[in-house]
Subunit: 136 residues, 2 copies
DNA sequence: TTAATACCCTATAAAAATGATAGACTAATT
DNA sequence: AATTAGTCTATCATTTTTATAGGGTATTAA
């Protein structure tokens, strides 16, 4: 399941994209408009900032703006930042690989093979940009 | 992520399938061979029994056998029994539908649309039988 | 220059989910 | 009757998730 955190992150980025302008958008505004608990949102925004998805402007009149071309911000990207791997088992994850420590031979593990196939079907769907998402 | 419980269930069914014979297989055997904590396994087996995936034979010499044609037991089926929905958000689940209670209009929610597409890509991969899984 | 706005950061807590164990009970076999 | 093995309920420990609290810092505008 997608965490609320990740869903909030997607909503936040979508909001920042659709309301983009020269002036930044405050966390307070996003919190109210998207009904995301303020402090929880701050936390998410900090994580997105760390990963250079958003930029922040401090002080009165400050807020957040997208840090890069919205065509380069994908849902998969946001999910990986917030929730970690897309794959349903860690031994088939590209970026968060971990041995499951259970099967004797990872190369021949059939559960692994099935979930590798699953992952390869999931990724293309999620690798769509926020621009694409906005257009759905 | 797939829960350990679901992974254990898949392993258990695969074991029952590959070691099927007129005599049932005890939970103890499965527990040892697949390194699944015994009491945890009992729990999983009970749930699988409730959903008529396995049958049990009580008493000495008893154990478990598959309750139906292995071609009709799919990984998706097991996952749904143990973990619930395949979909990553409940509002696009076929069998475990729940409103997310966040978006104003479910018909137009773009996050929903994307995750509906994701679900429709995932299901066919997981709707493969245990026979298919064994052959991978 | 000071009040207000708004981001920054650490810590903590409440709740839910996950993974596992305990123990008493029932049924069947040898 | 002793042993094997499934049944069932309860409980527990750990981790993850979902927040909240509160003090700080930077910037702007009155």
């Amino acid at each position: 399941m997608l965490s609320k955190r990740a869903k909030y992150a997607i909503k936040t980025i979508l909001y920042l994209y659709e309301h983009r302008s020269p002036t930044p958008i405050s966390a307070k505004t996003i919190s109210e408009k998207e009904r995301i608990p303020y402090k929880f949102l701050e936390n998410i925004l900090r994580e997105l900032k760390t990963h250079q998805v958003v930029k922040s402007i401090r002080g009165a009149g400050g807020g957040y703006v997208l840090a890069k071309d919205p065509n380069d911000i994908t849902v998969a990207h946001l999910m990986r930042i917030i929730d970690g791997p897309i794959a349903l088992i860690p031994c088939v994850s590209e970026r968060f690989y971990e041995s499951c420590g259970e099967c004797e031979n990872e190369e021949t593990c059939r559960i692994r093979k099935l979930f590798a196939e699953l992952r390869s079907e999931m990724v293309p769907v999620l690798e769509k940009s926020i621009v694409h998402l906005a257009g759905l």
